[in-house]
C-alpha cells in the first residue's frame, strides 16, 4: 500500500481584513462577508513567494517523516504563481531540502488544481515502484486585480505531502481525475492579473467538476458520503465548499475541519491541500478522508485517504495548520498590502 508518509503546511503571518479592502473601493463589506463568507485573508511578505513557502511547507513535511532527503525521487510544485516564467521552482526546493541531484523535478500549472496534480503524479510514481518517496507541494501567492471581487479572496499559503510505501500515516485508497475544456478563469502571457467569467465560474465550472470528481471516485471505491469522517473541497470562497458538499450529500460537520477559507482566503493551488493538512492534524486512526480539488480551465482531482495509527506519533512534530492560521497574525492596512503585493507603480 502507498500513502502519505509526511505532510506540512505554511501560512504567512500577514493578514488583511475584508473591511480594509472594501473601504478603499467603496464596496459594502458586510455584503461581501455574507456573500462570500470571508473575513480576512493571508498576505505574503515582500520576500516570500511560491518557492519560499514551498520550502517551509516541505521542511515541515520532512519533520513529520524523518526520511533522508536523498531518498526523495520526485519533487513537484503546483502553482499558478511560479516566480520565474522560465526556470523551474522545483529545483530551488529540491536543492534547499538536499534532494539533488538524483531527483525528477517539474513545475505543474493548472490554475488552482496544480497542487493536487503534483500529488497525483508523485503518488502514482511511488505506486509504480520507480521512486521510493515523492514530494508534491501546492503553493500560491495569488493576485486579484485591485477592486475586483478576487482581491477579497486571493491569498497565500502552501501544503506539502511526501508519498511513500513504509511508515504511512494515511493510506491512499483511490485517486481520480475529472476534466473538460472550460474557459472560466485565465491569464494570458505578460498579463499581470487574471480574468474570470464571473458567474460562469460557478455551475458549469466549479460545481460540475467537483461533483463529477467526487461522484466518480466514490463510485470507483464503492463508497457514499456517510462513509467519510471528513471531506475537503477547493475553497475559492466560504460558500462554495458547503454548497457543493450539500449537493453531494455531505453534512456540515464533515466539511468544517478542513474549511479554512474564512480566515485564510483562497490559496489557489494550496487550498484543498491545506484543508487536508488541517484534517490530518485532528484525525484519528481509521478515519476516512475525501479531498476534491478544482482548477479553472477546468478539472478536479480527487483522493480517498484512510488514516493510520502512525498519525498519533507524527502530527506534533511540526506546526499544525490551525495554529499557523490563528497565532502570530499581523494585520496590514491597504497601503502596506499594496506595497507588499507590488500593486504600486514606482519610477523605474
Amino acid at each position: 500500500m502507498e500513502g502519505i508518509v509526511g505532510y506540512g503546511a505554511y501560512i504567512p503571518r500577514n493578514r488583511i481584513k475584508v473591511e480594509e479592502i472594501a473601504k478603499v473601493w467603496g464596496a459594502d463589506a458586510p455584503s461581501y462577508k455574507r456573500g462570500l463568507m470571508l473575513e480576512e485573508k493571508s498576505v505574503p511578505s515582500p520576500d516570500q513567494d511560491t518557492i519560499t513557502m514551498s520550502v517551509e511547507a516541505a521542511k515541515n513535511a520532512l519533520k513529520r517523516c524523518l526520511i533522508n532527503p536523498k531518498d526523495i525521487g520526485a519533487v513537484y510544485i503546483g502553482s499558478e504563481s511560479h516566480p520565474y516564467a522560465v526556470k523551474p521552482s522545483g529545483t530551488v526546493l529540491a536543492e534547499a531540502l538536499g534532494a539533488t541531484p538524483e531527483v525528477h523535478t517539474a513545475d505543474f500549472e493548472f490554475a488552482c488544481k496544480a497542487g493536487t496534480e503534483g500529488m497525483y503524479v508523485a503518488l502514482n510514481l511511488v505506486k509504480t515502484g520507480d521512486i521510493k518517496y515523492g514530494l508534491a507541494v501546492g503553493a500560491d501567492t495569488s493576485q486579484g486585480a485591485p477592486g475586483d471581487a478576487l482581491e477579497y479572496s486571493a491569498a497565500a499559503g502552501a501544503a506539502a505531502f511526501i508519498f511513500g510505501r513504509e511508515n504511512i500515516i494515511a493510506n491512499a485508497l483511490e485517486s481520480y481525475s475529472y476534466m473538460t475544456d472550460t474557459p472560466d478563469f485565465w491569464r494570458r502571457e505578460y498579463q499581470y492579473y487574471p480574468q474570470h467569467g464571473g458567474r460562469f465560474t460557478g455551475d458549469p465550472a466549479y460545481f460540475k467538476h467537483v461533483m463529477g470528481a467526487a461522484k466518480g471516485i466514490m463510485d470507483k471505491a464503492g463508497m457514499k458520503p456517510s462513509d467519510f469522517n471528513y471531506v475537503t473541497f477547493h475553497q475559492p470562497n466560504g460558500k462554495f465548499p458547503f454548497r457543493v458538499g450539500k449537493m453531494l450529500g455531505f453534512e456540515k460537520k464533515q466539511i468544517e475541519a478542513g474549511w479554512l477559507v474564512n480566515k485564510l482566503g483562497n490559496t489557489y493551488s494550496g487550498s484543498s491541500p491545506l484543508g487536508l493538512t488541517a484534517i490530518l492534524d485532528v484525525s484519528k486512526p481509521g478515519d476516512m478522508i475525501l479531498i476534491v480539488s478544482y482548477g479553472s480551465g477546468a478539472g478536479s482531482d480527487a483522493f480517498i485517504f484512510e488514516v493510520t495509527k502512525r498519525i498519533e506519533k507524527v502530527r506534533d512534530l511540526a506546526p499544525k495548520t490551525r495554529d499557523l492560521l490563528d497565532n502570530n497574525r499581523r494585520y496590514l492596512e491597504y497601503g502596506e498590502y499594496a506595497k507588499f503585493r507590488q500593486k504600486i507603480k514606482k519610477a523605474s
Binding site: N14, S45, D47, Q48, I51, T52, K59, K87, E95, S348
Partner: protein, 130 residues
C-alpha cells in the same frame, strides 16, 4: 548585471546552511574552510547549522545598499544559534519596537534580493521571531 555564478557558488550555505566541524577541536566553520582557524587541523566533518537561536544584537538599516533599497527599513542582527555558531542575517516579519536582545528566533527560507527586474532571484536564510 552580475553573472549568476557568484550566487550559485554559495547555494549550499544559503539554502542548506552547510558548514564543517573540525574533527580535532569541534570548531564549526561557516562557510566551510580548508584549515581550522582554531587548531589548524585539516580534517572536518560535514554538518548543518541549527535552525533556531537567539538575538545577540541588532540594528535597523535605513540607508541600504542598492539591491536592498526596496526593503528598507529592515533589521539586521547577529544571532547565536543553538549550536553556538553566531550568524548575521536579516530579521523579518517583526515590528522593530518589539525586537529584543535575547529574543528567540528561527530560520526561514526567504528571498534575499533579486538582480533587477529581469535578473535571477537570490534565496537564502533570514531570521523570524518565534
Amino acid at each position: 548585471m552580475s553573472t549568476p555564478s557568484r550566487f550559485w557558488r554559495e547555494i549550499p550555505q544559503r539554502y542548506r546552511l552547510e558548514a564543517n566541524k573540525c574533527k580535532r577541536c569541534g570548531y564549526i566553520s561557516f562557510p566551510p574552510r580548508l584549515i581550522c582557524p582554531q587548531c589548524q587541523n585539516r580534517e572536518f566533518k560535514e554538518t548543518k547549522l541549527a535552525d533556531k537561536g537567539k538575538i545577540l544584537t541588532f540594528t535597523v538599516i535605513r540607508v541600504p545598499p542598492q539591491q536592498f533599497v526596496d526593503q528598507a527599513p529592515y533589521a539586521v542582527g547577529i544571532v547565536e544559534l543553538d549550536d553556538g555558531v553566531k550568524l548575521t542575517g536579516q530579521i523579518v516579519d517583526c515590528d522593530f519596537e518589539n525586537l529584543k536582545i535575547g529574543q528567540k528566533v528561527k530560520i526561514e527560507f526567504r528571498k534575499i534580493f533579486d538582480a533587477g527586474e529581469a535578473g535571477i532571484l537570490c534565496y537564502g536564510y533570514k531570521f523570524v521571531p518565534e
